[in-house]
Amino acid sequence: MESPLSFEDGLTTLLPRLRRFAHTLSRNAADADDLVQAAVERALRSRAQWEAGTRLDSWLYRIMRNLWIDTVRSRGRREDLHAPVEEAERIGEDPRTALEASIDLKRAMAAMQRLPEEQREVVALILIEGFGYRECSEILALPIGTVSSRLVRGRLALLQMMGE
């Protein structure tokens, strides 16, 4: 039997991963932090709907992804595609480490932003977050064949970009 506390513990443990996922979707660190905050609030509001014994991570990723899609759509696709990728901020405590990390992260975020939304979320969930194809298709509510073909296109595009 799950105690009420386990939900908060699970959520707290998953925060760093949720934050990473938010950065793979967002164009800058501020948007990513807003997304984490919004997802956490929604998860807490809907916590009674999470079925104890099922995967909390998939449930939380789904909440975050759906929130993100709503944000993107309400902001408008054009703005999203042409917005400059800002400096990723507040990475780690040590300023030297922070600088090195932020250069890599900035490049990686910029590359992700150049992918179409549909490919970015698949790449994020499978290549970065480590979900399997089946789990990814469940989180995104997409057929598994669609997931796998979007993943092929996304990683081919990324390979080209990262090599530039």
Binding site: V40, A43, R45, Q49, A141, R155
Partner: protein
Amino acid sequence: MVSDERFFAWLDGELEPEDAARVETDVAADPRLSAMAAEHRAMQAQLKGAFDSLLDAPVSGSILAAVRNPPQAHVVDFAQAKARREPRRWPSTAQWGAMAATLANGILLGTVVPHERGAGPVEVQGGKLYAASALNRALDTQLAGTPSGDLRIGLTFRDQAGAICRSFTSSASSGLACRENGRWQMRGLFAAPEGQSSDYRMAAGMDPNLAALVDSTIAGEPLDAAGEKAARSNGWR
């Protein structure tokens, strides 16, 4: 010859052991494929490494505080919540006839899909069930991601016969309708388990019954936002 999708499924450890062993042999024998595998592994490591730097960064205090001190109203007993959620789904297409009859009797029209006064969301004609009133309008005009009232359009795609199909979700139900003779014919309609909030329906993604129906209906991939708009301009033909 190894297709891209099979090659990457192998790279991601998604193939069954025997199939994986076959691809492994092919890759080992082909310098081009071996180089491609190495390149993609390196790319993924680089990408993942960059984002992994975030895992060690401190999480902002306001988020932690939100998790640790949620408003009291949110503390809900799990057993109670689960009892409220016992699934009460409609049968899928197999028992469609019986369900259509129930719908035709008008018993469930109000509860299955949001509707306007005096006009049901579905109507029966020639033994077939079609979208009507608000549902029909939403399928005709609404784009995915711009919910109107309670109704949200999910995927738009073509079925194996080439007809446009659209899935939809509301707080009370979800379903799939496909274009036939200029109308939206219902292919499936699934009632939401009682007591689910719209937040949950959003978080939960697609009803598993609906997902299975989409999987068995879809040809190729769902339309993207541009394709969806173009299909609307073209009268869903």
